[in-house]
Symmetry: C2
């Protein structure tokens, strides 16, 4: 992976993805090592339902920043293993209200110490001169103001008048 290192910022997308994958895979191994039958991809949904115990499909999707179809397929898996349940909202028949089952709440309590260890491990791993979580937050904030595309358009325009190009 020498060459990609040299590409520097141009390959940042690739490297973010690889880092994300690596952490998720190890996340799964950590759950397994603790004898917990849980997949990292379920975390956002379960976390959302722990914070807000009764949510519709779209509300969960918004909370976790996924599209609703992705959320639906996660919920399908979680319902299958009985960690969440759902029922129609009587006030609005379009909505399906989701909540943790007792089994789900029990598992959350069992996972809390594992989450604590994960959080401490990740804190340690990202405790470097440039903090990864902070960096992500900072870039997310900048992207909210101006997307990569818009930023490139701006630089393209100013570059056109620039002799150095």
């Amino acid at each position: 992976m020498n060459i990609i290192d040299e590409a520097g910022i141009l390959a940042i997308s690739t490297r973010l993805q690889r880092l994300s994958d690596q952490l998720r895979k190890d996340g799964l191994l950590i759950y397994q090592a603790c004898g917990i039958d849980f997949e990292p991809k379920w975390f956002p949904v379960i976390w959302a339902l722990t914070a807000k115990p009764l949510l519709s499909v779209v509300e969960i999707a918004e909370e976790i920043g996924y599209t609703h179809p992705s959320t639906i397929s996660l919920l399908k898996e979680l319902e299958k293993i009985r960690l969440v349940r759902s029922r129609k909202d009587k006030a609005d028949e379009r909505k399906r209200l989701i909540a943790l089952t007792p089994k789900g709440r029990e598992l959350v309590e069992k996972m809390r110490p594992v989450w604590h260890v994960m959080a401490r491990s990740l804190a340690e791993l990202t405790d470097t001169p440039n903090n990864l979580l902070r960096a992500v937050e900072e870039v997310e904030a900048k992207l909210k103001e101006r997307s990569f595309l818009e930023c490139a358009k701006k630089i393209w325009k100013t570059g056109k008048d620039d002799v150095s190009l």
Copy 2:
């Protein structure tokens, strides 16, 4: 995406992936805006072949840090649109040697100014107190020493003796 923000470091994997996706999607739009028929996912392969003009499949995979099956499917696409070509290595019949075609080299030259703009845009977007690229490099380096799993195991052990748990 309130809840996931609050999950902080535990949701770092999700956030890295989302950021990566966002950048890649805009990357595609930037190529399109420049009238260039190129997909961001091809960048690592093309970049590698620009730096080292003749490589086998596995060598490319190693350079860009992908598995060889992923590399093969990228190469298939690139051969289809005639940006790269391949021939058997006469010295070692197992190997297939890959190189840019003249069309490929021409496109690289056409893309260079676009890459320049992208690099400048990304540099601007990641020019924050905590530099994203540096942060990624730093975490990659730490993970090389000790994986997330190993780190968690260590913390788990020390935590067991700790009254605060």
